[in-house]
Symmetry: C2
Amino acid sequence: MSKPLILVTNDDGITSRGIRRLISLMQQLGEVVVVAPDSPQSGMGHAITVGDILRLTETDIYPGLQAFKCSGTPADCVKMAKDLVLKSKKPDLVVSGINHGSNTSISVLYSGTMSAAIEAAIENMPAIGFSLCDYESSADMDHVDEYVLRIAKEALVKDMGHGVALNVNFPAKQKESIQGIRICRQANAKWQEDFDQRVDPYGRKYFWMTGNFINHDKGEDNDEWAIANNFVSVVPCQFDLTSYHAINLLNDDWNFE
Amino acid sequence: MSKPLILVTNDDGITSRGIRRLISLMQQLGEVVVVAPDSPQSGMGHAITVGDILRLTETDIYPGLQAFKCSGTPADCVKMAKDLVLKSKKPDLVVSGINHGSNTSISVLYSGTMSAAIEAAIENMPAIGFSLCDYESSADMDHVDEYVLRIAKEALVKDMGHGVALNVNFPAKQKESIQGIRICRQANAKWQEDFDQRVDPYGRKYFWMTGNFINHDKGEDNDEWAIANNFVSVVPCQFDLTSYHAINLLNDDWNFE
């Protein structure tokens, strides 16, 4: 039996610690091809490059692997990997990460890591985005390895549903071992941003966006609860944004005549 | 009674024809504040600016209106409008557009126009993204006015549901008048991208991404069908990406022990 083909990408850039760890783990499971951004793309959401050029360059930074750096966004990486690198070979799994920082709850919308996974899901490729809830670039990652492998192995043999991508988040390393894996819904939480105003050397004001995470969700079936309780969270995500209950509301109450 | 407060933004930039038309329509309904990108931001998806500075500059291009150009993405515009311009005043409606080009079906994910509306929905502000299914910058827009007003008027008096934003698309102008408004789900269609490879003056290759829209959806309750049949499509959108049916699938069939 031939080895499964695994496409690895991320949003922190092709040389980040997280993607290096993910590549080395995926090499235990299959044939790995890497197509990742040539520079950090955090917060890019599901951006794609229209109206500007894209570059795709083979690199030898991962000896023995086919690896390409891409000038575009994480979603661009998946599109270019599919059409220009893998061509007729459909990957058995697309993995993105390991992101340096949380992508739980509403952050899934802003996340470049998850946009790559969702782009793969649009193409009906099984896909997983992995994120570590620790923003330190030197964060300890030893505790995630067995869980990355366990989830990826299941994804290679089980169906995750048509057009679904998994959003996997790991708690930051704690004294106690991880409690296990929880299948969750996206928590109802959000960022309360804060703009730090400064003045540049030319006397013009500018801003840095910072923010605090506000969790209003009282449930225990969501990804924020899982992470707060030292579980790995797994949220299956879809790309149909239709609010079906709002369709009924609009049909019943609104008048467009 | 005081006039409703309406925030206007877009992704084509603060001087585009579409936003100028939307501003002038919204002035018929309320007090308008404009916060829009200082340059085109098409295809930006739900990107936000992290790790870089943001600028927000008041401009007098719309005499009599409070208007600001923002160096960031459409989602940044809504965040900056809320925190730095409107402050304690919550808008009664946030409108984005009128986009030059379709945002039906899967394009909602890539759309800067809709990311602004969804960002507003996260803040529980009623929000609508308007797009014209015509990519010509000089496209005829006369036929959309009455529908923009009709939908915005309803949104000012009716509830669209918590955390919902409407994705409104208009057919390109045809000989026949628009047939009416259809409340729809997002069609199951996607872009099949195509990379046009070229060589720069320095001998290095680069790519332009182009694409063809592929519609596999056989239904008549979706936005593609509506546009193809000369209706205005209205899709209520949400920001919870959880695939609830996949939660059951994972719980039943996957083994994480």
